[in-house]
Symmetry: C2
Subunit: 458 residues, 2 copies
Amino acid sequence: MSEQPTESYTGFELSREFLEEIQTSIKSEDRERLQERLEPLHPADISQVLEELDADEAKYVLAQLDHETGAEIISNLETETRRRFLRNFSSEELAAYMYHIDSDDAADILNEQPIQVREEIIAHIDDPKVASDVLELLRYEEDRAGGLMAKELVKANVNWSIRQCIEEIRRQAEEVERLYSVYVVDDRDKLLGRVSLKRIVLANDRARVADIYEPDVIAIESYRDAEEVAEIMRRYDLEAIPVINVQGKLLGRITIDDVVDVITEQAEKDQQIMSGLTETPEDDDSVWSLSRARLPWLLIGMMGGLLGARFIGVFEDDLTVIPAMAFFIPLITATGGNVGIQSSTVVVQSLANRSALGDSFWGRMLKVLLVALVNALVISMVVFGFVFISESIKMAFVVAIALFSVVMLASLMGTLTPLALDHFGINPAVASGPFITTANDLLGLAVYFSVAHLLYQL
Amino acid sequence: MSEQPTESYTGFELSREFLEEIQTSIKSEDRERLQERLEPLHPADISQVLEELDADEAKYVLAQLDHETGAEIISNLETETRRRFLRNFSSEELAAYMYHIDSDDAADILNEQPIQVREEIIAHIDDPKVASDVLELLRYEEDRAGGLMAKELVKANVNWSIRQCIEEIRRQAEEVERLYSVYVVDDRDKLLGRVSLKRIVLANDRARVADIYEPDVIAIESYRDAEEVAEIMRRYDLEAIPVINVQGKLLGRITIDDVVDVITEQAEKDQQIMSGLTETPEDDDSVWSLSRARLPWLLIGMMGGLLGARFIGVFEDDLTVIPAMAFFIPLITATGGNVGIQSSTVVVQSLANRSALGDSFWGRMLKVLLVALVNALVISMVVFGFVFISESIKMAFVVAIALFSVVMLASLMGTLTPLALDHFGINPAVASGPFITTANDLLGLAVYFSVAHLLYQL
């Protein structure tokens, strides 16, 4: 092996020129050039290239690579791209890749296929261990610990010697890619603890597993929520967590890389909910499906706006006399919206971190009200000044009092709504979404026009 | 070691009763009960308990635990809690913990201290290696690869035998907690590659490092952005990444648990920006600092509202004649806001995934416009119907045409703004924030009143 210094490989940037070169090589069936270009790339980067190709081009590229690399590339593709590409393959061809894909990814990929294709692929898997692993994983829901786990792991019986343990690692070495710990089980496969690889390296060959394993192992039941898994792995800084059934039997293992994906996807999903995009906006990115992801909440927002129009219509007579009342409608609705979103975001984040114990419920409400009071006072005083100068003192009172009430109410709604949603098991990020914003708008208008109507009657 | 089955330890839930019991034990100086309660807990859970205590109580608890556990608890505290607690400790006491804290966390903790305290603590660290590691890490900015890395790692010279390599692991075993790979360097500490621990376990004792190391290692320069580190570790599913300087010299190592924190914090920060909370809202959670985190954007939103009021004021005469024009103000501003946020969220997320190559700039713009067109047509047609029934055909035309234009414009703004911000190196999440929402409101009003003015003149 040469002692050439490692180039720091800090991520591949796909350029248009590179893509065109790849496409030209495919068209001219220039295998040599294709391999020369792709060989230095990490499979994750080749996946990125494939994202830009059509199904036939992708199939040609995969045919040039060995099944192991191909399997990793396929696992790394976006769901929708993969579904599109794999239609081009026979069940037999797909089964050949399944041997090399980690069982958790294999189950995910099979889940994406129509049921008949799924059955055909499994029927073509000759290795009964691979087939039964995948079949077992298909039983779990995607957003559960069982749906995240892989069957690949190294386990050792507590009665083994370290030598036997190393033999087992050797036997599994090819199958288990990321090895951090060996899980220790009893004769009935019940999880007893773990031995870190470091400890095995340092142990005496004649030592026994029973002498060196750590019995304190954090494990998780297969039915637990994916987000709960993420939270536990993050809190305890785990690189892998064993999954057990209710009897404590070792079922599989979840590695941190899958959890990183869960965390990232959860954050994206929350942002989409806050923005009023339906949860899976771009399975494919046709104009119609993009529009469909956005329309539902826009239409609900529109209904809110029309309701608001009816509502303002009630005060048509006031408006004819004092058209200046119309001027401050956007000020009222915008401020209410902003305050509501701020309050709910703070609550949602504190719920996510579950640091909610600190104060009692009423202690927290008091703090929320005090913060709202400070904001409401500052804003209404500033606005009072401006409106007093530009309009009249009466109008200034109306706008300031209305704004004050809107800030207080929106703070309260923005705080209580996510707590209530969370209580009923609904993702509280919804509370920063368009539904609540619309409700806040209507509430603000109601307060504003009622205050105006009352004060002008005086 | 007993063969008692492992209880699955799936996260500790802090209860009010437990907290009260701890506080009572502290007050009565009941060390035994305190240790009995805390001993079974993971240090990360004890940190959670400490978050709820005051500085004196926390100091008492830490005094009952060994320095190693204490160090881990301290690293796990929230920044602000830690700052508050550590004021209670002398520099000498703090220095004693520094030996047991990973160098990256130690540097972070020192960075939180006033400069004089920082210098005093370092002066009290007797071990020159610990002191120089921490001093080196203090040089890096927090949001760079250098600021995330720890000095703890195991490296092996390429000319060593595996036996020497294992000796080195033994020597470092206590210091390096998470060991995945041994990094291979030349005589000048230049990074050449890595050997996975699995490979070491399986290697023949007489093998040489040079024979079994993998020369393809993904490394990152110390000046790279923390988010870039996160993106690379996520893409290539890495559990650790070596950090090098521009000459390729091995400086340190970043582990996935730190990157998980970066990803989580980034997602929270983006949500805060979208909600108009200043970036560090709750360093402490006094009413005043909570209000201060929210007020700036509320005031800017308020300015926008007042500007809107002036703007509508221009059309006072129209309003007197047709007060119905006021009814649809909330509909216009809300729809513009919703469309703008949806568009910018989609762009921000595609920027984050850097899947931006797919279509050319103009190809993407065409798609954005087509999606906007579908949404605009659907919404304005529905609104036309409603307004036609409740008001008049003329009003229906005014509102529908204005709404159509607002949706088109807001889509365009929502798409272009994050692209422009990203181009200038500003976090594009700002584009979903209150500033842009306010701008969209004003734009919507301008379009609406201009359209109404024109059509009613006809």
